[in-house]
Amino acid sequence: MELVNQHAKGIMEECKLRARDAGLRFDDETLEYIVTNRDMIELSPKIMIPTLYDYWVHDVRVLSGKGMYEAYPSNPYETVINTRPAISFYNDNNPDWLNVMIFYHVLAHIDFFQNNLYYKNTWDVDLAGQALADKRLIAQLRSEKGRWVDYVIEFARGMDNLVGFQRDLNRALTRDQGHVPDRIDFYFDRFLQKIKSVPQHVYLKEIDRYNQCQKDHADFFGKVTEQYPEFEEIFQKEKQKNAPGKLDVMEYILKYSPFLRREENEWMKSVIHIIRSTSLYFQPQIRTKTMNEGWASFWHAHLFLKDERIRGHETDFAKVNATVTAMPKVGLNPYALGLRLFEHIQEMEDKGRYSLDYFQLKDAILRTKFDRTKNTGMDYIFSVRENMEDFSFINTFVDQEFVDRHHLFLAGKRFNPQHNTWQYYIKSKKVDDYKEMIINTLYHPPDIRVVEEKTGNGILYLDHRFENKPLKQDFIENTMIGIEFLWGGPVHLETSVPATTAQPGSPYINFWDPGTAGSPADSRNAPIQWKRVRFIMKDRKLHKQEL
């Protein structure tokens, strides 16, 4: 792994100027490294951060990655990591013209990292440096505590998808607006009016008294607490409920676990902190994959074709670009989908179709002709890249026009007993079906929170807000063993499972076995019934209770 040479860096700097002219915004400083395929294999388990802490699971992934490479060699072109300065890696076998294309791609990624609001909490962090400090800390702990450090990492990683990413983000984005009601506002607006419901004359009298106190520089709240001794407590409770938000599972354990509070276990907290903040750091990246890749593909195509330095390589470009951005006949490609969606949004906005007029227009022919020549599409996609993430991006902008234009469909797969084959067919061309299928592929960790009312007597009580998708049963036991370890007591988890204990069988059985023909098939068509259950992890044993 080494820095790119001066020649390549020169190409990169030239690309930056052109990208800036086109409207992309990013820091001046960037670092580019040349890496081999082998380096890439070793980096990828560490999410491409060379300084990430050591952990045996990463080693396992590297070993299997190497085996995989032996069987199926791959040749990734680049990777960018969201740090300050932004670091990108280039394959040592890329030719120069290809690097021009890749530089544009990378610059668009950097622009995305540095402008999309979901990344706000990562903007002030030098991740590579932070990771290095974390790595050293973990290495030092490991020399003292041995393999127990790895258990703590393992158990902390077991719940690192239950972090309050949105909550932290929300806090960061609203911090500047002075959102938290202060004591005075709370007293007058909520406490007196809503909680105590005092008559109007009492309320006015209090305002008078407040104004008087202001004038005399006298203490106003002294009397309040005399009259309402409970005020302070209610205010504090309210403040906690609204302002910092509820603690996520990891934070709750960090703060209240009796086990971690013991002096000899203090060190575990720093490990959990590291895991938690690393996970938080990567949350925006997981949640904007389609957009981020689409944005980068959009810009590499736009900027590359205008760049005179690549004359003579147009066909080479076309080949590489096609392999990256082609829509597969069956399957999904986030690069391709994101790219087309950005182009679609730009065109819709250029024609002024995100408007009430267009929305209300029912005539199909008039709709295809609708064009207000607003030409604001470019600005519009810039604001989309700033304010959205994959879910809102797809949910908002994938429309019937988009599906029709690119001939998209929901591809079904069914068993054909005559030919003994899987048959692929066009299941639906409706936008809602297509959209639902894509949204189902997006990252969406389960919503699991601590129920404080039920937590106590050494028991940690977790509640899974059910969204019609059960938890993966095989994983529950080991995950809960980890949480039990870090909590230092029994852990309860409330969730939903299918109500029928016998799962419907393999569908093929009916075709062949006359004895059971028909019966399991019928039950399969009925919607699954769900019931609430409680999983109890105690002394590393899992029990299940119906509720």
């Binding site: 597969p328 989908l337 469909f409 299941k427 059960p470 993966k472 995950t479 059985i509």
Partner: protein, 391 residues
Amino acid sequence: MITLDELLERDKKREQDGFKRKIRIGRIVKPGAGNREKIIVVPTTVEEKFVHDDTLLVDQSPGEGEPTGGTGEGEEGDIIGEQPVRPEEGEGQGEGDGEGPGEGQGGEHEMEANAYELGKVLSQDFELPNLKDKGKKRALARYVYDLTDKNRGVGQILDKKATLKKIVETNMSLGRIPDVTRIDSAGFVVSPRDLIFRVLSREKQYESQALVFFLRDYSGSMGGKVTQTVVSQHVMLYSWLVYQYERQVETRFILHDTEAREVTDFQKYYSYKVAGGTKVYTAFQMVNEIVEKENLARDYNIYVFYGTDGDDWEKDGKQTLIEIEKILTYAARIGISVVKHTYTGTKETEVEKYIRGSGVLDRQTHLIKMDVMGENVDDSRIIQGIKTLIS
């Protein structure tokens, strides 16, 4: 970088600390030209978290797979392509379930080397028992050369201890040692005939040789995890035997639905799936035919391992039991693994019922074993199963 051995060492410590093992032995198949697949043994592991289970789609009709995206012309309902469920020869065998190691003619050596490694790992790290030599063991003669024979006067290496003994002996008979408690070696007479040398000689070495039949049901009911579990267990068993017999293992593979067929290699044994109904006896019958026709019982330790979901159209298993009894007259071991579908619950399957009912497990306790597990078991349970089958 950490090695596989170190990883497994660490994994063993987990058990001491009261946690489950987490390293599994994964297998990657590298398809090659013709039948030359290569398998690569790699460690894998799963990081458990609370995640949604996407396999349980709420609305799914029978025979329907998971939908995905697509692009192209056509109307709703149009068929855009077909893909064989059961790849046959020449039809792009791919990765199977992502689980199938492959062995092909010509690729055999590589497969063996890997299987040997895996077998070593399994025996050492998972503490699978060593093979006990059974009475039926056949010998394979092989010659090795070693400095074992002794020769007086001339030779390659002087055996000092034996020579000294001889010298003392000679001097005693000459009466030159009057007091055995006070020997003065300075006064010894040394005859050239007293020098004893070791010389290179040909030694016969005996090794056992094994023939393993792997049998499995690939009928319609075997889809999904059941097959995966059975084949995982069989690849481990195979590897373990390769290690135990120092690679002197021959294998035969038989698949059956309502009839049995022999396939040439592991790859096919693994990847073929989802055919018709189920007649268990056909597979065992084929074993008997092969053994008889090729006169194998004389020269080999014969092992028969059979994997099934327990389903059999022949509910009483009469014919199966006849065939099994026949095999028991020459086999070193029959191991039957029943991998149950989750939906069968605790109910006994047909195969379990008639095997237990026949009492053969008790009568021939050294020769036949049965292991029953659910389809969702992990590697450690599978290995536990192997222990049962070969104990």
